[in-house]
């Protein structure tokens, strides 16, 4: 239970940090914000790596592998497409 309270505290505080940081993003950048933040949600790749590589059972390895492919598409595609969009915004500086 103590562990849970610690993780829950971090969860709530991070939400506040998120609100503070993100309310300052102007509407012009809302689409890159979505694709960029979405790429960050691909952090679940960390869990996928563990499951795919642990060789626990065939089932968990398979689940981990599919999750790994999904998360990698999310991460690589997300950051790349955000970069592509942001380059367009920067050009006119």
């Amino acid at each position: 239970m103590e562990d849970f309270m610690m993780y829950f505290t971090i969860f709530v505080l991070s939400m506040f940090v998120g609100f503070e940081v993100i309310t300052k993003v102007p509407p012009t950048l809302h689409t890159p914000l979505m694709s960029g933040s979405n790429a960050i949600s691909g952090i679940t790749i960390v869990g996928a790596l563990i499951s795919a590589g642990s060789h626990h059972t065939t089932l968990t390895t398979l689940l981990g592998f599919v999750a790994l492919v999904f998360a990698t598409v999310n991460v690589v595609g997300g950051f790349l497409v955000t970069h592509r969009m942001l380059e367009m915004f920067r050009r006119k500086e």
């Binding site: 969860f11 940081v21 509407p27 979405n38 592998f65 999310n74 690589v76 595609g77």
Partner: protein
Amino acid sequence: MEKIIVNLAYLLSASLFIFGLKGLSHPRTAVRGNMLGALGMLIAVVVTLLDKKIADFSLIIAGLVIGAAIGTLLALKVEMTAMPQLVAVFNGLGGGASALVAGAALYETKNPDYLFTTASVASGIIGAVTFFGSGVAFGKLQGIINERPVRYTGEQVVKALFAIAAVTFGAYLVLNPQNLHLYWVITGLSSVLGVLLTIAIGGADMPVVIALLNSYSGLAAAATGFVLQNNALIISGSLVGASGIILTNLMCKAMNRSLLNVLFGGFGEVVQTSEEDIYAGKVKATSPEEVALLLEGARRAVIVPGYGMAVAQAQYAVRDLYNLLESRGVEVEFAIHPVAGRMPGHMNVLLAEVDIPYEKMKELEDINPTFEQTDVVIVIGANDVVNPLAQTDPKSPIAGMPVLEVWKAKTVVVIKRSLSPGFAGIPNPLFAMDNALMLFADAKKAVQDIVNALKEG
């Protein structure tokens, strides 16, 4: 590796994500911000690979290569107009991955405690809803599934039953963790729920749906973080969750509707209003040549882009028009309604693609007071966001929605294929106003014709 070093590395990744998102608050720092985020992700992946006793790298390398190849291909090939679909796909994959990881963790753990199983169930439910909800959103945006909301009697009851069933089985699994296979029943029910929730929402509400699914994908990752007891996942997931909630809220405000209203009711079931009375004999059609004449005499023009511009890929023609007018000393600005298009900031991306300076893209509050000093407004494929009924008819489905008050300008030119209503399904009295002219054509062709007429004139 020392546990403390591993945890410090995860903390570094999480901090880089925060710096990265902070960078997105200005176009000048945004590229670097995104790169910091990517660096954070790289650190998290490397430290995980070094830390865990990985028995076999072959599968991991295969997974990374396949995923990276697909992701790169999608990211580089996608048309800017198709960005909403792509974001929907990425949202879905992130959520799906979280659900699968939580499932795998459940099978790997002996004697899981209540908190562990509860977090797994949460991740499974949110992840599955995100995956299938995003799939349907993609289908709607891509035109594979009908954009109109699918409604039927008792639909709210059906949705509620699926939600209750998923949660009930979830509670049972928490109390009886040996029944592992129940996890798939729960994700199965949630998958159906994801489909039902999204299929009932129409195309006009997609900006809200995409933002909401973005939030879900973050919350699913955070829930998986509770499962794995990993702070990097909890922090990153909640950042994304917060981001999605903020955007969802902004989109709802821009339509003057509550989130509940978007999810469970709303557009698409509207009674036919008397279009005849509004339009009969009052609509004036115009030609590209006439619009060119108007623009020649103008000092200030405002362009209002909508979904129609995206569909017709008219942004390049719009750029030509913009350049031509600016070179002739006409002051040109773009009025961007928050929910124009199919995702938050959709129009900004399309205009940035064709090098329109972002200072020229004005938000609703900034541009509305300027319409009175504007000679010509050109509305390109936007309907509901310029509908005066929002202010005049309290019974209208868009009553109270903030709109662009284009009718205050001297002349309004509306480029549209026909008088058909927008997604709210209501007629637009703007089209029949004295100072409004209709240019019935495809957006791209119409704008090109105006440019040609200006050059010849």
